[in-house]
Structures are given as C-alpha cells and as structure tokens.
C-alpha cells in the first residue's frame, strides 16, 4: 500500500513542480508579448506624432493658425507628448485620432489645400499610419485579452498575484472617435484662411 502512496505523492509533486514552472514561464511570456505588442503600436503612434507639425504647417497656409482644427491638433499633439503611461498614451492617441479626422474634411472645404501636393502626400501618409494603428491595435487587444484571461484563470491567478501582475486596459475606440467627423466642429469659418 505504501508503495502506491509513495508513487501517488511522487506523481503529484512532480506534476506540481512542472505546472508551477509552466505557469510562471507562461505568464512571463504573455507579459513580454503584451509589452512587445504595445511597443509595436507606440512606434506607429510616434510616427503619426512626428507627421503632425508638417501637417499643421501646410494647413496653416490655407486655413490660418486660429482655426479650431489646428488648435485641436496642437493640443492633441502636446497631450500625447506629455503622456507617459500606456493608459495616458491610449487616451491621448484617441484625442489625436479625433483631431486628425478633421484633416480629411478640411480638404473638402479648401479646394486649394486639396490640390496641394504636400497636403495630399501627408494625408495619405497619416491615413496609412491610421490603418497600421488599427491593425496593430487588434493585435494588442488580442494580447491584452490573452493576458487578462490567464490572470483570471485558476491556478494562474495565484502566480499572477505573487508576480503582482495587473489586468491591462484594451486599446478601445472611444465614442468620440467612433462619431463621424463634424465639419462644424473641426473646420474654421469659410473665408478665414489665407
């Protein structure tokens, strides 16, 4: 009888050790996946951030510096520049996306601006960056979902508490971003431009 007890205890202990190693490694790997997924978005957000001054310069020539769109672009850029944590960056990025939605609409209001080669080029570039952000956001959200699921699952939940891992926030689209850009809200008054 004791042999079987010994065998049972041996199997259970061995299994527990293997499971503990597996859970620990799994959580660390997930955490790294998450950080990597965020870094991959951050690179693109930075590229978009760098495009904004050029965009402002071009729009300024036609719409004037006092336009509401330019103000919101400048503010959004400043907010993103001062954001440090992931959550802050996600919020600032949302504000920047809303501001950039107006750029597409301003072209319709100023035919000269729409005909400007630089503006078209910049608009295309920003649009490409927005697409990339959208795709990478999907990847990031999947990584967050995987991470959060594992954090809530038994028995990973205990290891996660020991490692002090916290649930992460998804990079979701805000209500304001989802709304159709309003010409009234973003555009300067006609005739105000240069």
């Amino acid at each position: 009888m004791n042999l079987f007890i010994l065998l049972f205890v041996g199997i259970v202990l061995f299994g527990l050790v293997v499971m503990a190693i597996n859970i620990y490694n799994g959580l660390v790997s997930l955490r790294n996946q998450l950080e990597r997924a965020w870094s991959n978005i951050d690179v693109i957000l930075k590229q978009r951030f760098d495009e904004i001054p050029q965009l402002i310069q071009v729009i300024e020539q036609y719409a004037g510096y006092e336009s509401q769109l330019l103000k919101s672009l400048v503010n959004a850029r400043a907010n993103y520049g001062s954001a440090r944590t992931v959550d802050e960056k996600i919020q600032a990025s949302g504000a920047m996306s809303i501001a950039l939605q107006g750029v597409a609409a301003i072209g319709e209001a100023y035919p000269e601006l729409k005909a400007n080669g630089n503006f078209v080029q910049l608009q295309t570039r920003v649009s490409q960056l927005e697409n990339t952000i959208a795709d990478r956001r999907e990847t990031y959200n999947e990584a967050v979902a995987n991470f959060n699921t594992r954090l809530d699952q038994f028995p990973d939940v205990f290891a996660a508490r020991m490692l002090n891992y916290q649930r992460q926030t998804m990079f979701a689209v805000s209500e304001a971003e989802r709304a159709t850009p309003s010409l009234k809200m973003n555009l300067p008054k006609f005739g105000q431009g240069a």
Partner: protein
C-alpha cells in the same frame, strides 16, 4: 517482483518510454501555449520579429499533383515495403521506406491584407493527417500518377507483380502528407519585411480566390459555415475547411487563366530565427489548438505513471523499510545494517554474520547483491533471515 535482468529491462523501459512520453507532452503543451498566447497580426501591418498569421496557402512557384488530382504547395511521399524476419512464433514484420519524394519549395500565405513568403525548408510543418494506403487499394489513375511523377528511379520488386492475384508479391504501402493550394494555414515565425517596390505578384486565380474568401469591408475571412459544413453538424471541421477552401482555390485557378488579375503586394518573408523556429500548420488556429490538445493530458498522465513506476520499483526494492506495511504498524524493523556499517563490509563478512545469526546482515546481503545472487542463494538467505526472526521473510 522477481529479481534479475528482466527487472532492469522493465525499469529501464518504463523510464525511457515514460520520460519520452512526458517530454513530448511537455513540448506539445509548450507549443500549444505559444500558439494560443501569440496575438495574430495582419500581413501588411505586421511588425518585424516574431508574429503569427492566419491565411491560405498559395503557390509561389511550381506545385505538385497530389491525391485526387489536388495541387499541393508542400508534399511528402514515402513508399514502404513490408519485410519479414524470423519464422513461426518469432516472425515479425516491419515496414521499411524504400523510396521518398518531397516538394518543399517556398510558397505564399495570403491573408486579407497581403502576401508573405514561407520557406518550409526552414521550419516545422504540422500536417494534421498522414494518409497511409496499401498499394493494392490505390486506384489505377492514382497509381499512374505516383509511378509517373513521384517515384524517382527503379525500386526493387516494385510495382508488385499481379500474377496469381499478387499472392506471392511483396507488399507495399504509400504514406502521403500535403498542404494543398488554398488550404487554410497557420504560420508563426520571424517576420522580415521586404522592399515594397520590389515585391508584388500576379497569380492566376488569386484575385477571384481572395474575393471569394475574404470580406472586403472588415478584412476578415468570410463566414462560410453553410458552404463548408458538408456533414451539416453545425460546425466546420478542419477537414471540411481544408477540402472546401482547396476546392474554391481549384475553381479560382481554373478560371484564373481567363480572369483579369490584380497584383498583390508581398510584404515580407517568414522564417526561423535563433529564438523562434518557423511553424506551419494546415489549419486555422482554432482547429490547430483542438488538434494539439487532443489526448495531451492522456500523454502527460501516461508518461508520469510510467516514470513513477520506473522510479517506484527500485525505491520499493532497495528501501523496503519505507515502503513495507510493517513501517506503518510496527515502525522501522532492524532488517538491514546502517549505511556506514554496510560500506565497511564485504559480501564474505556479511555471509559469515548472516549464518552466524545476524538477520540484518542477511537482509543487507540480499539487498546489496540482489542482481548477482542466484535464485537458490537468494532463497537460502531469506530462509536464514526468517530463522533469525525477520518475519517478513517467512512468507
């Protein structure tokens, strides 16, 4: 448990098979976790480094004709012959590979956003099913295909003679695995982007195929359960998905010769790096996960059990005090000498002490020389030990 060489063989077999099973289960589990945990990327916006894609296989160069005239981008074939050794009760048969053929050229994986190049030579290919068929069961058309394009050079006694209904001919079988054009693929590996201007392709049927399988608005794979679920059980199995999408690709490629083709950008190449090996599977991630999970816990349990037996038997044999029932009821019996004394004794001394009346010496001798004592000697020392008061040996 009878002592002797068979015991050692049994223990070694348990340890080897158990260790192998457990190691393979652990490896499979690790891979499964990696597949589940890695977030999926879209080809056109994927970052450099380790990524996973889900899409469809499409030929980059030539294809090979596989089973039922299907076009495959990856194909492995083995011709095996049955060999017999021994006679009577000792007769054993085994299959030995006598000819092989493989087509492992780079191919494309296509998702709703673009195309990436895969080089199967660089990585691990996980094909769900290896088809094994006896040569005699293969239809004439397929035999013709195999003889004409798959088997390279003459093979002894092949094809088998059909004289006297092939009664005295050698037995052959074929093993095939393939990844068909249009088949769903899951790939993960190290992604490197290529220069955009240098890379775009136009391939017959690809435009029609992508329009058929991808949704234009949300850039995902179209919901096609109604078309793919051939057995009407409400779910699309891996096999149904493979057959359905391969069929769609076949039709698209046939019509592709006449249709106007769009060009598709090749965004990069997926390969192996030092830390991540390229992994290709002929299924969507959900099906692949199901396949990898199948019987995994059974494999874990089997491996752990065999390992425990392999470790438990020697423990039981060498430390009976710990494992015998008397431990629980009577406490540890003095049936062997303390380790320090054992080290100082030789078998002759132990024999003298045993015959002289020290039961512990008999027990130590039995333990120490378990695999070298003959059955008679072993029985003799057990009797002496019993006579000197070790009740466990009186059974």
């Amino acid at each position: 448990m009878a002592s002797g060489g068979n015991d050692i063989k049994f223990i070694a077999a348990c340890l080897l098979i158990g260790g192998g099973l457990f190691h393979s289960a652990l490896k499979r589990h690790r891979k499964l976790r990696q597949v589940v945990d890695t977030p999926r990327s879209k080809i056109d916006t994927a970052a450099q480094g380790y990524v996973e894609f889900e899409g469809f296989a499409w030929p980059a160069g030539g294809t090979v004709q596989s089973y039922e005239n299907g076009e495959a981008v990856y194909y492995c074939f083995e011709l095996q012959r049955e060999y017999s050794t021994g006679s009577g009760k000792n007769r054993r048969t085994e299959w030995r590979t006598v000819s092989t053929f493989s087509h492992k050229e780079p191919f494309y994986v296509v998702d709703s956003t673009g195309v990436a190049v895969i080089d199967p030579l660089q990585g691990e290919i996980n094909i769900g099913e290896t088809r094994i068929r006896s040569w005699n069961s293969i239809d004439a058309k397929d035999k013709e295909r195999i003889l004409a394009s798959v088997i390279d050079g003459p093979v002894d006694s092949f094809p088998p003679s059909t004289t006297l209904w092939g009664l005295f001919a050698s037995k052959f079988r074929v093993k095939e695995s393939e990844l068909r054009v249009g088949s769903p693929v899951y790939v993960s590996g190290d992604f490197r982007t290529v220069e955009q201007s240098a890379a775009s392709i136009t391939s017959g049927g690809l435009t029609a195929f992508t329009k058929k399988v991808f949704c234009g608005t949300n850039r995902n794979i179209k919901e096609a359960t109604a078309a793919l679920d051939t057995n009407r059980d409400g779910t699309v199995s891996a096999e149904e998905a493979k057959t359905g999408y391969a069929m769609a690709a076949r039709i698209a490629r046939m019509n592709g010769k006449t249709d106007a083709e769009e060009s598709f950008a090749v965004f990069g190449r997926l390969g192996s790096s030092v830390s991540h090996q390229l992994f290709v599977a002929d299924a969507f991630e959900s099906h692949l996960v199901g396949r990898m999970k199948s019987k995994l816990w059974l494999q874990f349990a089997g491996g752990a059990l065999l390992l425990a037996i392999g470790i438990g038997i020697p423990v039981y044999e060498y430390f009976p005090n710990v494992t015998s029932d008397s431990w629980a009821t009577e406490g540890p019996a003095q049936t062997s000498l303390p380790a320090r004394q054992v080290a100082a004794l030789n078998p002759t001394q132990l024999h003298t002490d045993c015959v002289g009346g020290t039961a512990a010496a008999c027990e130590t001798l039995l333990r120490q020389s378990e695999f070298t004592l003959t059955l008679e000697q072993s029985e003799y020392y057990k009797k002496v030990s019993c006579a000197h008061g070790n009740r466990n040996r009186c059974r």
